[in-house]
Symmetry: D2
Subunit: 341 residues, 4 copies
């Protein structure tokens, strides 16, 4: 059975395993004060061209979203996101459980725009009763978005400006950031993201690590008592080295970029193949997730030979499905897929 | 200055003040175990034709929504409401602060339908990833709605059925319930509401009391440790008698209905007057809130002589405003308004 | 049946009822922006000799404790209190439900000392692992304490200094403040309290009001978005006037002090009576609560003629009980008690 | 520098790394539905002799405590623990942030007794005002305790009985369970624990894994919607296999017991060595943590050659320190320590 279901169905890049083995018996301080975390943080700051940045490692995406949002806002503050944003629909209430409302703005290809944010905030303050309402305090965007799409540098800059103007924190969820950075259709670098957001994270779990997200507070704005804030949310690993070793490896010799690029190259081949085979593209994506519409009979046949992700019901007879490539998808996998499509 | 701004700009019905004075020095147990609370609860159960009901008194609407929702669901559960529902927009995050998501379905005249609820819940369970999503656990409706509109008995019955079928709790916010019950355009009685919902409340604050909402758990389904749940949310009054005396008075000799009817009668006169004066009705309402569209220049003039509530911006040149009558609006008030319109 | 059970078994001072009646039909803005709230706030600031103070009205003690603590600390912060403090034992978890730990220090007659606080905080920071522990961020004291005792000006000053030195907020729960201020054994004025604490409240519920507590942020330190913070916790009354009228009346012509003094005078008579009758004082109290130890047989007899509060089991054969006087206890009540003791 | 600071300063047992490598490219479903999790769960159920058990994997101890407590109690419930319990002092408020109070009972060698629990609960229900207080709903014990001590089978049985009698959930924190099971001074087996508790966990992080705790709900009592409850608290790993592989390896061929026994054997040698060298035992421990009292001058000298954990200040001149052995402590490490002590 071929597997294009998601980018987290296998383990991690072998170099990470190797480095875990090499460092395994080296004694280290716990809770993220080990030398690997320190080294990884330095490398990330350098990549970001951002000496004032503060880097913290957490375990997974939902956890990171919860801890960042809870520690950078006050009780009851609201978070503006695309209605398709991960925090709005797929975190089982993690944001609400920590006391915050998500405002789901209508997405366009998984994205929201500066003008939408601006209008929403203006509308809020224009309401005579706004003190009785949830205050929009933060903007959350995913890059790549949940549909695999990307913000352009212009779009990000506009969002950044509107956030500064309106007093909002700009938070970028980079659970799949590598695939965004290595897309052939982006003009956004990691340094741009560091310059334009208040906080973002570099996804490990979906980009070749066993687990782990590296949060970058871009301008010495790490919340007070962040270690305790992590611990309060169950997000502090005793063996923080597990995260440190992984990110240190990913940011050595450009491994993070290299494996992200592999996923992109395979995705481009995959997209070409799908088009060639007559599949209808559901949403144009420049990253590692490719969405097509299939009729339901075809979908039943496909299920027998390849695992792809259910995305959404399009109509009574059609379903949108997702093919995802990853750091370990090979040319052979694509060739094998060609056989069965 | 005439005042039609809202139904909570004055104090309370004089009979309540009188009864507070009469009982003032009678010594009573605290925390809602006084004889007035007990008597009021009995009267309300009788009105509801619902001997199994359990009645609790709280202080205000947002507090009641928070306590009822928090005590009848589990952490992270979601509440289906109209996007215009009070809990969705006007409670400063009270529901989220207690750990719950509000799903705002598109309203029709302030209401949602059984079929919308049904489709939403089916969609949730149809999603292969629904365990990663917020579970819809409760339906919240306002009757009258935030637009003054009312559910018909058929609509309520359908909602009740869909909730039973889908395993949802049906919660009716009756902050203005009296005005709904005494409308000339309703076929819904308080006994119907008790029969069709799991929990609802009878608003006092906006219907002639100084404060207070009477929550009715309709079928012996008061949550475990409800007194503690109230106290945890700061909702337990030491002098619970303040609520007991008020509701006991409101439910003696039909006072609650009588003063609600007064508001309805004045609202009907008001509506006729507005139409006669050429105002455009913004949304047809059968209760004590009447909404009209005025051009902004006219609005500025009106502000000099009458206080009405800003409702929403209709377009660049027009604003929707709300006129509210109440238990104490008089025919003289309407006549005076006629002079200045 | 005589009633000395607590200070909240009757209604309110008649002058409050009278003032509620007089203002009943005056139209006012809601949510605490009415003229009575504004007037009451001004009077209180003047009493406190504290022009920078900001005054807010809430409904009850537990609610006030929750809202003040939640809005003046960050998630997971800890509150230092006496182990007998109301927030530690008698609020059904209101502080924990809003995300905070109460550190219960061993009380001495219901009080804690500056040196206890200092040692506790030093100990915390001395611990190499303190970042993994709950940070002490606030000191909560009750004045009078839950045992009716009072802090001296020296004790308060020391607490104030230690809080400043250690970076803690000092919060004084004055649910029974009037009885503390009018005790014959105090050297503390309301202006002293305003000068020495960061925030405190003036209890209404237990001092002659139907409900209500007036919170004083003593140095322009009201938390950001406090109206929303109140609303989020269900603590914002639509008819805020109910609180405004009450406090405006209590702070007109010294009524608050006058009725507090009545309770103190009756308590002194009560204490003399109890001693005269051979009762053993459980804890010496200079305020309106008097605690005696009775043997259980006697307690059974007493229950037939007078209601007093159970306080705690002293030993197998003895119980501590509480007699409370209030604004409305009369000399006749004391005389009647003398008959039955 | 020798390192006896804690049992989480190195990586994991090499067999885990090997197994991670072997399974690395095998495609698996995410979120804990992989075959390794399923296999590990079966093995654990078998070890527990408990076919009705339900096993879930989480990442760390504090996270597990938070998720288990939040999902098995209602808002505001209280947890009885030793005052030295991890949840009471060293989780930065994780339990309070999720809305619960910890009742810290005075410990005896890190433990609490059935009679303490019984008295506490009786006292609670005997209080006339207990509905205004936090309800004790769960008992939390650590085995080994934070002082390395162990409950006897008799003590556990008594706690189990008192919990059943009083309607409390019994939760055992087994962050270091292996060291407890393999102590030479225990009569408690893992099957005993499964039989006597409602829920417990088998620590991985401190017993040879990179991370991970296996929670056992002992009698088909896993809380409703547990996957969502995990996700809400940021505790659900996309690559759940990371936990599955580790526990599957630890419970293959008795590896968990074997490496725990190694730590115990080294600890016994360490204790003998310390006594031989004239160190004063601070608290007698039958597990992998050994506590001694040193004078502060000696402590300064020691710090130059060996890392041990600061435990607590004993008096002005003495400090209690902790030596911990682990799965990877060797006889050579003990010999090397002998050289420098």
């Amino acid at each position: 059975m071929l597997n294009f279901e998601s980018d987290y169905t296998t383990g991690c890049h072998p170099r990470i395993l190797q480095r875990l083995a090499e460092t395994n018996l080296v004694s280290q301080t716990g809770y993220g004060f080990d030398e690997y975390c320190l080294s990884a943080a330095e490398k990330i700051k350098k990549e970001c061209n951002c000496p004032d940045a503060e880097v913290e490692f957490l375990t997974g995406g939902t956890q990171t979203n919860q801890v960042v949002i809870a520690s950078m806002t006050i009780d009851g503050d609201g978070i503006i996101a695309a209605d398709t944003g991960h925090i709005n629909g797929h975190e089982a209430g993690a944001i609400e459980v920590s006391g915050h409302k998500v405002f789901g703005l209508k997405h366009t290809n998984g994205k929201i725009s500066a003008s939408q944010v601006s209008a929403f905030v203006d509308n809020y303050y224009a309401d005579a009763n706004h003190e009785h309402m949830v205050r929009p305090a933060m903007v959350y965007i995913s890059h790549p978005s949940e549909y695999g799409t990307l913000y352009s540098k212009k779009e990000l800059t506009d969002l950044s400006n509107v956030c500064k103007e309106k007093g909002l924190t700009l938070f970028l969820d980079g659970a799949r950031l590598g695939y965004g950075l290595m897309s052939y259709q982006t003009d956004v670098t990691i340094a741009d993201i560091a310059a334009l957001t208040d906080v973002f994270y570099i996804g490990g779990t979906k980009v070749g690590a066993l687990c782990g997200e590296a949060v970058v507070f871009t301008h010495a704005n790490k919340p007070e008592r962040f270690l305790a804030r992590k611990k309060q949310r169950g997000a502090l690993l005793a063996k923080g080295r597990l995260l440190g070793v992984q990110f240190d490896t990913l940011f050595t010799d450009g491994l993070y970029y290299e494996i992200s690029r592999n996923a992109i190259d395979r995705a481009e081949e995959l997209k070409a193949l799908l088009v060639r085979k007559g599949y209808k593209i559901f949403m144009e994506s420049p990253t590692n997730q490719q969405f097509v519409v299939v009729d339901n009979k075809k979908y039943e046949d496909l299920k027998k030979v390849v695992r792809a992700g259910f995305w959404e019901t399009v109509d009574e007879n059609h379903t949108a499905i997702r093919f995802a490539t990853s750091w370990c998808t090979t040319k052979e996998d694509i060739a094998a897929l060609e056989e069965v499509l």
